[in-house]
Amino acid sequence: MTSYRPDALIASDISAYLAQHQNKSLLRFITCGSVDDGKSTLIGRLLYDSKQIFEDQLSALESDSKRVGTQGQEIDFALLVDGLAAEREQGITIDVAYRFFATEKRKFIVADTPGHEQYTRNMVTGASTADLAVILIDARKGVLTQTRRHSYLAHLLGIRHIVLAVNKMDLVGYDQAVFDQIVADYRAFAESIGIAAFTPIPISGFKGDNITALSENTPWFAGPALIDHLEAVELDVDAAQAQPFRLPVQWVNRPNLDFRGFAGMISSGSVKPGDKVRILPSGRTTSVARIVALGGDRPQAVAGESVTITLADEVDCSRGDVIAAADAPPQTADQFQATIVWMDQTELLPGRGYWLKLGTQTVTATVQPPKHLVCVNTMAELSAKTLELNDIGVAEVYTDRAITFEPYADSPDLGGFILIDKATNATVAAGMLNFSLRRAQNVHWQTTEINREAHARQKNQAPRLLWFTGLSGSGKSTIANLVEKKLHAMGKHSFLLDGDNIRHGLNKDLGFTDQDRVENIRRVGEVARLMTDAGLIVLTAFISPFRAERELARSMMPEGEFFEIFVDTPLEEAERRDVKGLYKKARAGQIVNFTGITSPYEAPLNPEIRVDTTRESPEAAAERIVEAIMGTWSPVI
């Protein structure tokens, strides 16, 4: 058996061995291919040859091989790496698993992703942290659709090193012509999608050819063997040292008033005390005072290290900010073009607010309808209105405030992001920022002399947005009307937005699908926000069934100005009243997507005001609401 480990040295001089091994580097790679390509067998082989498999695991493996293996009486390496019980029964792997092995020079972390269902989602996950991708091809089958898919995804995620492992060479008699043809086919394809270089290696995972050493069976192959190549390629973390310094601030360390350290992992470049730095997004400059570490300050730190630094001046800096080289700072923007991989069963709702996490920054972002999807099998661009599970699309992304970023191609740390559903907290997408849109850089907000405060002051009131939500027929409009009458009588300037004045004009192009409901509420929120800028007290009376959209409207408003008022009427009661006869029609199937019947209503969790209409009259409720919002009124200046 070939092995990477000099057992003799370990036995005779463990100190010398350990001294050698303090200095290993770490390479992360991903293997792409299906079970049929022998992917699990290859990984099993790598673990086996590096003695990561112990006797007890081996005996379990031998008995498993005989029971459920696919290699007759021989050891089925694939069983070593197929983890969960469910997938073992189904004979497929269903998620991303990480394996470890080491040679004399490097420790390796292998991301193993399945070749079947959910493939895009899982491979993108595994590829996101990889320095290198091994694309497996069955020598008998050549370049297949899935080969193209794997290569496209590896390239999309910015993997710089691609290995084309032509496997099962033993089954084609180690024929050079077969290998050369596959390499030529692959080269043509790779160039077409922008892969500049790749390393082809003819192997047999099952027999062990060209894995640890060059095989006698392929005298025509000049090398390198797979392991030699994995030990030699340049690591992303080393390459990142040549880039300008960036430290996304993760956490501010303040054990006492005399110490303020900024902690985070350096994403590129290096740093030493005295270096001039700029804090983004504020743009303030200062210099690095110390690099603080347990056991004593350090003279320098480099990309890939988690550090704590202190600054020479007392500048504002907190989680989400980026400390960068003063003369080469990253950009800030709030509108981007991005490539997005959708990872959730629930499709993208364009216009809805999602959490966007990039580096240590978390903001609210909305995604526009995609410009196009990319078919991962043919690379063709397809048109679509949304993104579904495993779709890859290009779309514009708007954030609610400017973020510090770099194009993904320059920095995965400052260009890669995830989207999180605000209601379910699920990670629904991964994305890569391609560039900021010109208009985000060129259009500046008008700073007018007559600003929000001036408008409000003139009206002697504080702007408010009273957001009434509840089922159809719950009494929203009735109560909102009463509230407005009272405000008017008090000399307050107000405006009521409801279905009648919005649906017939501004939003007459919208129907009642989920997407249209989201867009409807987004527009109402924007209009209401503009009216509060004019100093008005705005009342809106819409069913607004989704929590996420109500939260989006809330996030547009300054703290304390948004009041969510839940007109809480049980469905049975609203249906019994049926003021407009709509429930009867909905039950008869004459109205589709009717909230409460065929479309969900997500009740508020923490409304500022809740009105139980089965216990409180509209008049009493209106009185209480006016009192609540006026009670919190305070002069603007």
């Binding site: 057992d7 036995a11 463990i14 100190s15 350990l18 303090q22 200095n23 290993k24 580097s25 770490l26 990561q52 112990f54 006797e55 007890d56 695991q57 498993d64 790496v81 983890g83 969960l84 019980a85 469910a86 073992r88 998620d95 991303v96 990480y98 394996r99 470890f100 080491a102 420790k107 993108v124 996950t125 996101s128 942290t129 973390v237 080393d238 040292q241 993760q250 956490w251 360390n253 303040r254 054990p255 110490f259 992992m265 290096s270 030493k272 570490a293 347990l294 320098q300 890939g304 290290e305 988690s306 704590t308 959490w355 996490k357 240590t360 890669g416 995830i418 907290n425 699920a426 991964a430």
Partner: protein, 307 residues
């Protein structure tokens, strides 16, 4: 940096990379969770995790308590180190014992699997609920066992502490999604990507104190069902005619002493232990009675809430 000059490349070693990743994970939890805690089992993995926490938050002490879910059956040497290590780190130490298990006198001699279930699995859930922790650091490693290879670094748990291996959040780059609803929690594994050898090398490089039981010494032992058990105190029930034999032994993992198998060894210092570990032919968990039932047993236990 001077213009036109790039710094001499300082290539990071695998241990430096692993350390940086673990520290990054811990800081992310502290920045995003409301009430984090570090589960501290006193083993070598816990020792490394605690050391990393000290480094991550220096000069502040780690801003969370240590939690030991005690079974009352750990080795005596473990209790000694536990109390000292917490004090030296300047951290609060919380010790939780499942009151039902205590009342019923659950023990490894009479109750078999129920012992682990009640003291550890149930005890952990109770402790997390009792203190209201929403994120708990654990020292599990992906190389330990097959089902662990797929666990996320941030592992989401329902309000009833269940883990759903088929419905895990995708985890990309270094972006961890720590969002959760009230009552839900995260288990976070900062040393996921470390192997057993990495742990030993780091202990050696950093001079981390570990329980002396990891080093060989003459200790009183009996042999049961192929496991070599240490008679650590008078509660150990000897079979009729059974007499403890002194053997030079050490432990590769530490748990409840009547359930933890020792190996015969003369490796009395770290380097000798690492040499044995490198030349050994059995895996680390083999000394644990709990995993032996069936290949998928760990996966089942994890779905139920075992760490």
């Amino acid at each position: 940096m001077l213009q036109g000059q790039t710094p001499s490349p300082a290539r990071l070693t695998h241990l430096q990379r692993l350390e940086a990743e673990s520290i990054h994970i811990m800081r992310e939890v502290v920045a995003e969770a409301e009430r984090p805690v570090m589960l501290y089992s006193v083993g070598k993995d816990s020792a490394v995790m605690l050391h990393l926490a000290k480094k991550a938050f220096h000069p502040a002490p780690p801003p969370f308590p240590l939690l030991h879910v005690d079974t009352t059956w750990k080795f005596r040497a473990m209790y000694d180190l536990r109390d000292r290590a917490a004090a030296e780190a300047g951290m609060e130490l919380l010790v939780y014992k499942n009151p039902e298990a205590e009342a019923q006198g659950i023990n490894p001699f009479d109750h078999g699997g129920l012992h682990t279930d009640m003291w550890k699995t149930e005890g952990l859930k109770q402790a997390l609920d009792h203190y209201g922790f929403d994120a708990a650091f654990g020292g599990a490693r992906r190389d330990e066992e097959k089902s662990r290879a797929k666990e996320r670094v941030f592992s989401f748990r329902t309000a009833t502490h269940r883990w759903d291996p088929k419905n895990q959040r995708p985890e990309l780059w270094r972006l961890y999604n720590a969002k959760k609803a009230k009552g839900e929690s995260m288990r976070v594994f900062p040393i996921s990507n470390w192997t057993e050898l990495d742990i030993w090398q780091y202990i050696l490089a950093e001079g981390i104190e570990i329980v002396p039981l990891y080093f060989a010494a003459p200790r009183p032992t009996v042999e049961r069902d192929g496991l070599l058990l240490m008679v650590d105190d008078e509660r150990f029930r000897l079979a009729p005619g059974e007499v403890p034999v002194e053997r030079s032994i050490r432990f590769r993992t530490l748990g409840c002493y009547p359930l933890t198998g020792a190996v015969e060894s003369d490796a009395a210092d770290l380097e000798s232990v690492i040499r044995e570990m490198l030349l050994t032919t059995t895996s680390e968990r083999q000394g644990r009675a709990i995993d032996h039932d069936q290949a998928a047993s760990m996966e089942k236990k994890k779905q139920e809430g075992y760490f």
